[in-house]
Structure formats: C-alpha cells, structure tokens
C-alpha cells in the first residue's frame, strides 16, 4: 500500500466547499509536487491532511501507512509521522525554539514507545541538524518564530523537519519569499532528507523550486480539483503556458 492515499477527498470551510474530490497516492521514497494558482486549495489540502479543525471533511478517505488518517487527532497524525511545513508559521512568544522542539520530539518518541531524549542528547541533535540546514544557532534560543524574518521562519520549518524526521513531509510554499541562496539551502535540506522510506508533498506556486527539488510527479490543482498529473516536465510546461490552459480544461 502507498505511503499516503487520498481518495475522492471533499472538504469545506464555513460552508464553502474548497476541495472537490482529490485523488492522490504517494509511494514511499517519492516526491510529489502540487502546483496551482492562489486560492486553488493547496493550503486547504495541506491543513486537512494535518487535521486543522476549522475544515470539515465532507467526503472521501485518506490512508497513511494503512491508518485511517481522518480518524486521528492532529497530534496523533504528527506522531504517526505526518509533518506539515506551514505556509505561514505562527509565532509563539516566550517559548524558546529549543524548548518547543524538545516537547515535540519527546511527545512523538513517547507515542512510539521510544525513550525520550535527555537534555544533552537533544542539544547535540539540534545543533547538528541546525548546522545541516544552515540555521543560525542563535535562533534556537529565540522564541518560536517570534520576530523571525520570512526566510528565517521557512528555514525554521525545514529545521524542525530535520529534527522530527517524519515519514511524510508536506511543505506548503516553503519557497515563497526566499531569495535564491535561501531557496538553495532549503532545497539542499530537503534533498538530504529524501530517502527510501520517506515521502514528500511539495506545494509551490512557482516552478523555480522544482529546479532544485526534482519531483517524481507533478499535479496541477485548480478550483479544488487535480486537473492534470504528470512527470517533472509538467512543471516546465506550466512555466511556459501558465494555468490558463488548464482553466479551460477545468471549465
């Protein structure tokens, strides 16, 4: 069975249907990209997978490593190994990044019946991972995302990804607002984490990121539906012709 399997997923927010029947399967080791214009439902899909209670799932099924994902509480989805890199990471004033991440990692380990890391082991781990994603160590002591620049917030998401080592990482526009150097660092971070048992769902607005993170499959999302799927060349096609072509197809 696939790592993630989405079947005919429908979801709404405040009575407005946003996802209108999504089908998608990601195998272990694969990286998929979802592209689509603003408002097409990309973040909605990401948050529905994460279990954001503001969305209501009105139809369909989602299986993650054979578990019915939609039945799990958001924290249990995370503990099972679903990670979402948020498009807009929130700030948590007064809570240090280190403290936060230690609480997160240990909650996950506990759920899995693994031993919690002690302070020394944990510090060693985060220092090493911070280095690997080129995150300034000073940010470890600062409150979570509080006063971080746009780029720092995105890098912090990748850093958390590197520490938590999920089985599925969904990255929602992690590239937006990054300059080319930051983009490269983020892409390098992601690429170094790609492995046989891990899957990625990379959501992006631009084709640019996909020059660095080469996807196995690309899907075009429009008005809450996947209107086309293909290989990495689909991203290039989009770059040239834009979404207009698909607008017509969808209409």
């Amino acid at each position: 069975m696939a790592l993630l399997e989405i079947r005919n997923l429908h979801a709404q927010i405040q009575g407005v249907e946003i996802l209108k029947g999504i089908d998608l399967a990601i195998e272990r080791g694969e990286t998929h990209a979802i592209m689509g214009p603003n408002g097409s439902g990309k973040s909605t899909l990401a948050k529905v997978l994460a279990g954001d209670p503001s969305y209501e799932v009105t139809g369909g099924e989602v299986y993650f490593q054979d578990r019915n994902l939609l039945e799990l509480a958001p924290e249990d989805r995370a503990r099972e190994g679903v990670f979402l890199g948020f498009q807009y990471p929130v700030e948590i004033p007064g809570v240090s990044n280190t403290y936060f991440l230690k609480a997160a990692l240990n909650a996950i380990r506990k759920y899995r019946g693994e031993q919690e890391l002690d302070a020394m082991e944990f510090l060693q781990l985060i220092k090493e991972r911070a280095k690997s994603v080129k995150l300034d160590e000073a940010l470890l002591r600062r409150p979570v995302n509080d006063g971080f620049s746009g780029g720092e917030k995105k890098r912090n998401e990748i850093f958390q990804l590197a520490v938590l080592e999920p089985y599925l990482a969904i990255l929602d526009e992690t590239d937006s607002g990054l300059d080319i150097d930051a983009l490269r660092t983020v892409a390098d971070g992601v690429n170094s984490l790609r492995s046989e048992e891990r899957g990625f769902l990379v959501i992006t607005h631009y084709q640019r990121l996909l020059n660095y993170i080469i996807p196995d499959k690309v899907h075009v999302l429009l008005h809450g539906r996947i209107v086309k799927s293909g290989g990495k060349e689909l991203a290039e096609e989009l770059e040239e012709s834009g979404y207009a072509l698909f607008e017509e197809a969808a209409a």
Binding site: R77, R79, I92, P93, A103
Partner: protein, 482 residues
Amino acid sequence: MSATTKTLEELTNRKYEAGFITDIEQDTVPPGLDEDIIRFISEKKAEPEWMLEWRLKAYRNWLQMPVPQWANVYYPPIDFQAISYYSAPKRKEDMPQSLDEIDPKLKETYDRLGIPLHEQEMLAGVAVDAVFDSVSVATSYKAKLREKGIIFCSMSEAIQEHPELVRKYLGSVVPYTDNYYAGLNSAVFTDGSFVFIPKGVRCPMELSTYFRINAANTGQFERTLIIAEEGSHVSYLEGCTAPVRDENQLHAAVVELIALDDAQVKYSTVQNWYPGDEEGRGGVYNFVTKRGLCAGNNSKISWTQVETGSAITWKYPSCVLRGDNSVGEFYSVAVTRGRQQADTGTKMIHMGKNTRSTIVSKGISAGHGQQSYRGLVRITPKAENARNYSQCDSMLMSATCGAHTFPYIDVQNPTAQLEHEATTSKIGEEQILYCNQRGIATEDAVSLIVNGFCKEVFRTLPMEFAVEAQKLMEITLEDSVG
C-alpha cells in the same frame, strides 16, 4: 511549595517554642461597626493611645467617604454592619475535622500541586494542632534575622515593641484618607506583617508570610508595612499558590512600602483566594491598596503579582517615585475565569528627576471572566527626564470572556518619554494547531503558550515561586480553551 515545604516539614517536627503570636483569647464581637467596636479591638490588642486615636480618626473620616463605583466590577452592595470586626480563631469543634469534609475539588487541587497532607490541613482550616507548629519555623528564622538587626514580626507585635517606627511610617504612604477601603482598613485592621531592614543590610533570605500561615485568620483586614533603610535590600513574598479558603468574603488589605536612599524592595504576591462556585457565589472580594514610596534617591520598588483567585479583585500596586533616579516596576499576571472579575493595574507617580518606571501587565481571561487593566502614569512638573515603558497584553481563551484596558497618562513635564504597547490576542487556534502538528497535545500546548505569554512576569519571581506559579497556571487554565 517544594523548597519551603522541606524546611517546613523539618521544622514542624520540632516542638513548639516561643509564641510568634501573643496569646489568643476566645472573644468575638457581634457584627457591626461603631467607635465602641474600634475601642474594643484596640483594647484587646493592648494598643497605646495614639494607635486608638489614629484608628478613630480613620473611622470618622471613612464615615464621610462614598463607596467607590468607578471600577469595572459588579457585585451587590456590601453591608458593613453585617461583618464582625473582631473574632478569635474558631473553636476546634467548629472547624472541619478532616480533609474529608472539605470540597473534593479543593482537595484534588492540593494533591496536584503536590502539597503534603499536613499542609493541606492547614490551608483548608482543618482542626489540627499542627497548625501552630508552623509558628516555630518563623521563630527560628527570626533569630537569624535579628542578628542582622532585621525586624520581621506581626503588626500587633510591632505596635508594642517598635512604636516609634510604626508611628513614623504607618499611613505615610497610604493615608487613611486615601480611599474607602484603605480608610476602613485603617480603622479596623487586626494584624499583618511588619518588616524593618536597617541601613546597609541585605536581607539574607526571602521573607514570606507563608511562615505565618497560622495568622491567616487575621487576613480580612491585613496591614503590612515594610521599611528599607538607606542601602538595604529586601524581597518579600506574600501568599502561596495553594487555594486558600476563607469564610470572610471581604478582604481589604493595605500594604505600604518605603525605600530610603539606594534601598531596594521587591514585593511578590501569589494570590489564589477562593473564587466562588461556578456562578461566582461565595468568592472573596479582594479590595487591596498597595503602594510603595521611593522616598530616597536611587531607590527601587518592584511589584510582581500573580493573581488567579478571588471572585473580585480590585488592586493597583503603585509606586511613588519621589527620590531622584528612583525606579518603579510592576509585573502582573492576572487570570479571570468562571465568573471572576478583576480590575487591576498600577500607578506610577514620577516626582523626582530621572525617575524610571516599567509596567508589564499580562491578563488572561477564560470562561466568563472579565478583566480590566487600569493604569496611571503621572509625570509631575519637577520630574525632569522621566521615563515610562508600559506593556499590556491580554489573552482571551473563550468567546464569552472580556478584556479591557484603561491606560491614563498625565504628563506635566515636556522632557518625559513614555512608551505604551498593548496587544490583545485570542489564544490562537493557529498556535494550538501548530503545536498539535508537531506532536504536542492540546493541553500541553495551552500551558506552553500561556507560560510563554507570562514569561516576562514569571522571571521576576523568586525561583521556586516561579515554578509554582507555572504549575498553578497550568491547573487553573486546564480545559479553558473554547
């Protein structure tokens, strides 16, 4: 409680030594207030004539004062004739005989705060002899303090033993004409704490009323006076995190702090009086006047309060910055939930040159809790180069609670620099989702977020108090999001 608990336990195992509290007689006066009652109180306490005169003047003045109506709190009018102004401690037969007789919820909270059984009994007012054992703790500390010339005793004792100090300073910061409840307190106060730190002495330990828990019955009209002479330092802790039950609904305490040249006084409070039931019935009305006078140059007074209890809180720990270069600080965390109401804040009165003040107020409202921050920053004409920084943050945890801010500013000197920041945030569903998405359960997420929100205030508390305050916050706000 942890650190103090240990010492308490060690010390309560020793036998009762000398009396911290003078003999308690078994008298109670009937409800009502007139000059005879005040004479009775004064006589019971064998007070000198000047003390009685002062009380009577306060009483006569109080009779002329209107009940304050300006606070943003609502309660039925208080019948001051229905209160008994002098009561000896209850007889043992009238007290709960064991913890089984107290509210199981209270008991549960004690257990979760990790308070040993013995202390639970004290706090819940169970009839046990051990209550009086805590007296010996205070006694042994007192000896240590006395070596340094520090006086730490009950107000009653101070009136007897150090009349010149009491006479000089009592009412010098909060005169009996100040406000309605301070006026009432001046007339009828029964006891409280007295602290005197002589010139150049740093008090070697945190002074805590906790060691005088047996005096809790005097808490209804408590009177505290702390004097720090030139160059001295003292840190005083009031209250404890455990919920304290009290059958007296009205609490009208007065606290006065005086810092002379180069002296520093730090006053920390954790207030967790009974807030009443779900409908707010039976909770304590906490109408307190707290004020510090930075009388000397380069002096500093710092208030920290963590207010989680009481049905109604009406409280503005303030600083009068009279000395040049003096510093006033106010750090506050207030929580209102259920039907609790709080109108709290501070006043910073800048009189000296180069005076500085900092206000950090964190309000958390949940359930139907209502909270107002009310603060005044006044820069008087002679206060050259005064500075104030104010920050008022409110966090809302439900759709039915409320937060209000009333910052008053009165600047009469153009060299003043004032900064004011205010935020209101709903405890973010987004913040909680973010934590959940990293594997952190909602309950843990809430305490993480709330403790982060309060961090600037908690870090001004003495270490073990800070840990307790955090735990208290977790228990208080459990199940509060929604």
